[in-house]
Amino acid sequence: MGSRQQVDEFLAEAEELLEKLSQDLAELGEGIENGDVNPELVNGIFRDAHSMKGLAGMFGFDDIAELAHHLEDLLDKLRLGKISLNRILLDLLFETIEGVGLLVRGKAGDPDYTINVAPYVQRIGDLLAGPDDNSAITLEALNLDVALLNVLTEYEEHRLQENLTQGRLLLLVSVAFPLDSFDTDLSDVIGELKHVGEVVSTLPGAANADPSSLAFRILFACKIPLENLSATPGLSDCCFETVSPAPPVSVSVPAPVLAGVSKGLTQAEQPLPQEAPLQQTGEDTSLRSVSHSVRVDIGKLDILMNLVGELGLVKGGIAQVASDLSNSGVAQACDLEKSVHSLERRLAELQKAVMDVRMVPVRQLFDKMGRIIRRMAQELGKKVELKTFGSETEFDKLIAEELADPLMHIIRNALDHGIESGTERLAAGKAEVGCIELRATQRGNHVVLEIADDGKGIDSEVLRRKGIERGLVDSDTQISRRNLFGLLFHPGFSTRDEVSEYSGRGVGMDVVKNNISALSGIIDIDSTYGQGTQISLTLPITLAIIKALVVRIQGRDYAIPLTSVLETLLLEPGMIQTIEGQEVVELRRSTLPLLRLNQLFNLDGQTSSGGDFVVVAGFAGRRIGIVVEELRGQQDVVIKSLGKSLSFVKGIAGAADLGNQKTVLVLDVSSLITDLLRGDTGLNV
């Protein structure tokens, strides 16, 4: 079994399932006592046992998986009414769950801990080997038309059986409605009936004298006396026929349970104490959970984060008042300002603490990828080694979740198309075992994830030719290496035609790129033919709360995430040059392309005449200059997304509240950069 973290991950989920199972079993026990068992509850328990099996199987805990498998089997039979629910069965369910719990808690101390599950399995087997239910006999003995029984599905038969066991009054309700309104009329009647019992089946009547109406019979298990039912206002058109009367109250509930006990005793209870003692839980077993983690819905953390952000805005308001008071010479202003400062510090700590809760180590993601690589390598018959670096690097849980799929696609591509088979590798003079490297590093407010393989790489010449064929590249212009590999992110672009041995199942890199962009991240790809491919993802550590530079463009305020602002310049007349229709300025001997948002967003009003500022924005080695009229200051903002219906808007990451009842749009620097540097001006705004 794998690493400590994997065990922890398993424990957290397994304990949660166990707890739910115990609760539901307790509820089931109450149901038996009251003679009213909810079929949905049994279904739920069955599904949880199934999840437990899957979970244990995934982490390689075969003993738990085996036990859960037999539990699931038992519950499936119960669900379909093939065995009857009684105290004996409930005890067996509790004991089996206890056994699973024992194993789970044991694994917390030592992953190799195990117990003998055979006694548990045998008990379940014994119970299942017991005589089948007497269902067929009782149903046929009912005062029911055989033709009617013949149209009940197995599940409906089971429900009928169950209601009989509960001692309910069974009725056949007859009713006829006009052909053009029968569905609503009938639904009303059924709705009425469902308040006081269970509708087992609705049967359309075939032979009817009046062709303009349709007759129905409803098989109904009733919880109230017939007199009360027929007095119900909505049921005045119905005709009731008793199929099986409710037995006298005194014997109604205990009878079926007792029958089960006497049967169960001979089958299951007797052999156990001597031959197959179950693992003793013992006095010393602690009831405390072994896992110290709490699982919280990320939505709750988002709410917390938003509150912190809004507190920050309130603080800003108070600070403003304090400074106004101070300026007008109020005596206590100084104390107020001190308090505001200490509020500010505490708030910063609170923000950091909330942020920390959201942070997860990238290791969780790496472990998942490790499992995928092992499984895929086996399927493809390739030998691959995984190396990970910097797995303790942390980032926001939300980003980690959103990153799982794109990362999986990248790794699949690497394994499928990158890494060659063992013989091919030996022939190329490489080590027989291929290698995939996952590397995470933190750079300021960003995390860089690099995925490198030492496979066959991508032939840049093929890429170039294909680009020219598709009209994406001019045949006579020089294209930079970055732009060349950037072609891979074009929708529908594939190298599959040329290289036949590429299996062609590669996931479109354009999809991966869109996923990364949605996280305000940037993806880069580089490859050396014959030696391997490197993909690097640059992502913000968190999306929840950011520092932003507020700027004014054409009389409107925008926020630019400070993480992507490198510097600001005063734009002096004459600095701007035009190269191939693109405005640029020269900055320390490199050329900086300029972006005018008023043109991009088609804002009204004339283009400002100059005398502006340039915000140099960029990361991952790419920079652009955004021309703005005014730099208004720095502020913490909580970004709210624009929502699904505006998801087509490019260049805007979301909206943020500035605290003075003003809402600003937050620029999506990564998409602005990518589109400007690609020369794509077709932004939809």
Binding site: V151, T153, L179, D180, L186, I190, S201, P204, A206, A207
Partner: protein, 109 residues
């Protein structure tokens, strides 16, 4: 699922498909449409597929209309009942669209 079946049938080109989203709707639709073949799920929210088969087989108008029941669970008991009631075929999901098409061709010709 219903969408898949409809598109499977429409792909056959010989068929015009009318859909009912539950048993009641089917019962309303039957007198209005001239139906050559019925495909029904065994589990519907209102009436079950067996009941629909029974209804049709006992009604002179639809007595001879070929009927196919489709089911997710492979309950042998339900299958036997369905065929005994007069369904022409009982298909258990998952099946290949081609199987359904072949079955329909057989039943219609």
């Amino acid at each position: 699922m219903r969408g898949l079946i409809v598109s499977t049938l429409e792909a056959m080109e010989c068929c015009e498909v009318v859909e009912a989203c539950n048993g009641f709707e089917a019962l309303r639709m039957l007198p209005r449409e001239k139906v050559d073949l019925i495909v029904t799920d065994i589990n519907m929210p209102d009436i079950n597929g067996l009941e629909l088969v029974n209804f049709c087989r006992n009604n002179p108008l639809y007595q001879a209309t070929p009927m196919i029941i489709i089911s997710t669970e492979g309950s042998e008991r339900d299958r036997e009942k369905g065929l005994a009631l007069g369904a022409d075929a009982y298909l258990i999901k998952p099946f290949r669209p081609a199987d359904l098409q072949q079955l329909i061709r057989k039943l219609l010709h």
